[in-house]
């Protein structure tokens, strides 16, 4: 297996407070790697560091053979990384079409068209003129994913995509993640609850206090509740 994205020895700070302590992990080509950990463990910060939104004080982030920490934040998406932030962070005052347009502006040459992205989420096609802040939670999540997929990314960062969604919606998001995996997209998926990831993740990496503790195959977790309990608490 070859790694597409490699984080090694990453230190990140908010002001004086150190949040990531020498965090290292590898995302392999075409896999779904899930970051699991308690609230405040540093999962979101890890994704933000990859996007260049939180500076790395030490360590490196390599995409293939490119060093991402050397890029300005706005150059990271063009390098091939797309980001679906926690809480979706849509441009709520803008229409669905405008949100998608912003995603399309960030894509590299010869990447997916608007039609291909909308084919993944047909509901959005009927809502193009609607203000995105007025969509339902599930539709907003789909839009956030559609906006990111406009980039035709090599690596997709998903921060708690199922947070606050109805079960039927959660299934729908999971299907999308699986089908992207089939297309060779490598996904770094952040979740807080185990059951949200078991069916889609290839491997699970436990994050605790800003450190990557252990990485195990997702299939091994069913038989190892103690491990899960240790890093995520009950459930």
């Amino acid at each position: 297996m070859s790694a597409v994205l490699t984080l090694s020895g990453l230190d990140c700070f908010y002001g004086e407070v150190q949040v990531l302590h020498g965090l290292s992990l590898e995302l392999n080509k075409g896999e779904v790697l899930c970051l699991l950990g308690r609230n405040g463990a540093g999962k979101t910060t890890t994704l933000k560091a990859v996007m260049g939104l939180v500076p790395a004080k030490a360590g490196s982030i390599r995409l293939g053979d490119r060093e991402l920490t050397a890029l300005a934040p706005h150059e990271v998406p063009k390098a091939g990384v797309a980001y679906v932030p926690q809480g979706r962070r849509l441009f709520a005052e803008m229409t669905v079409a405008e949100n998608i347009e912003i995603g399309l502006m960030a894509r590299g040459k010869g990447k997916p068209t608007r039609d291909r992205v909308l084919d993944l989420f047909p509901v959005l096609r009927q809502r193009l003129g609607q203000r995105s802040g007025t969509l339902s939670g599930g539709e907003q999540q789909m839009l956030a994913m559609a906006r990111a997929l406009c980039l035709g990314p090599e690596v997709l960062l998903l921060d708690e995509p199922t947070e606050g969604l109805m079960p039927s919606m959660i299934g729908r998001i999971r299907e999308t993640i699986s089908s992207l995996r089939g297309e060779g997209v490598s996904t770094l998926l952040v979740e807080q609850r185990l059951e949200a990831v078991l069916s889609v993740a290839d491997r699970v990496c436990f994050i605790e206090n800003g450190r990557a503790r252990e990485t195990v195959p997702a299939s091994s977790l069913r038989d190892n509740p103690a491990l899960v309990r240790r890093y995520v608490g009950v459930g």
Binding site: L53, M94, R147
Partner: protein, 293 residues
């Protein structure tokens, strides 16, 4: 003159004020809306626009139309370049910190003002209007140039609205305004957007000043009034709202015209300032602004 025509005259004068004010306030509002920077030096960009208009038009004495046209094109460009420089040298280094930039732009205010005093001097100087056509109404004649200020302002406001809502540049500006971090995650070079917006804001003030300078002389202290009035307009209209800016500029400009003509200019200022106080107490986000989430 009887009451009706008198009122019409007052309203026309008010509309001219509104036209210039709307452009100036729009510049202030864009800069605050997108960058969260309260630009205390905004009025000095206005003054600089007027002073440069005088300097440029006096290079071609005897050809007022040509001189004015050159001023209209060049003065905003030069002011935009000055603003760009200020943005690079000062605001960016402060990382656009809201408090620090207030202090820094106060500093810019004095620097620009003193430079104008040094190189332009303390005199008030007039720029000849590009044409002297008078529109003869049944009751009084009215300056065709003043009417063209109103028309020019409408055209520029519509152009700004078009750019903001119908073009990619506008989309990028709005994305930056709503969520700087997410904008970056979608490849938007936020610092370049900031630089462009700051220059654009200053250029709007400069255009407004070039338009007004044939009827109100250029002077190195002339930036204070537009700054104050722009703040009033932006607070009443709601920051970042184009529609609010236009409507508030109309309210302030026309009421200023009418009250000044029938009562006194001081009373007009008192009423405008009280209106701001009322808005701040009862609707702090402004009449058309959206409440922060």
């Amino acid at each position: 003159m009887s009451f009706g025509p008198h009122l019409l005259l007052a309203v026309l004068e008010g509309l001219v004020t509104s036209a210039v004010l709307a452009l100036t306030a729009l510049g202030l509002s864009l800069v605050f809306g997108v960058m969260r920077v309260v630009n205390v030096a905004h009025g000095e960009f206005f003054m600089l626009g007027a002073v440069l208009a005088w300097a440029i038009s006096s290079m071609v004495p005897g050809y007022p139309s040509l001189g004015f046209l050159m001023a209209l094109l060049l003065s905003p460009l030069i002011v935009g370049a000055v603003a760009l420089l200020a943005e690079r040298l000062v605001l960016r280094r402060l990382d656009y910190n809201p408090e620090a930039t207030i202090v820094a732009t106060i500093g810019m205010l004095y620097v620009i003002q003193q430079l104008a005093l040094t190189f332009y001097g303390p005199e008030a100087r007039a720029v000849p209007p590009p044409f002297n056509f008078r529109l003869q109404l049944p009751w009084f004649g009215y300056s065709g140039y003043k009417l063209s200020i109103i028309a020019a302002s409408i055209v520029l406001m519509l152009a700004t609205w078009f750019v903001l809502t119908r073009t990619r540049i506008g989309l990028v500006m709005r994305a930056t305004q709503y969520d700087r971090e997410t904008a970056q995650a979608f490849g938007i070079p936020v610092d370049r957007v900031y630089a462009g917006v700051f220059a654009l804001g200053a250029m709007l003030a400069a255009v407004a000043a070039v338009l007004i300078v044939p009827i109100q002389q250029a002077h190195y202290l002339m930036g204070l009034d537009p700054l104050l009035l722009s703040f009033i307009v932006v607070i009443i209209g709601g920051l970042g709202s184009l529609r609010g800016t236009v409507i508030a500029a109309l309210i302030i400009g026309v009421s200023d015209g009418v009250i000044s003509v029938f009562f006194s200019p001081t009373l007009a200022k008192i009423i405008a300032t009280s209106a701001v106080a009322m808005v701040l107490v009862f609707r702090p986000q402004g009449l058309f602004g959206t409440a922060p989430r």
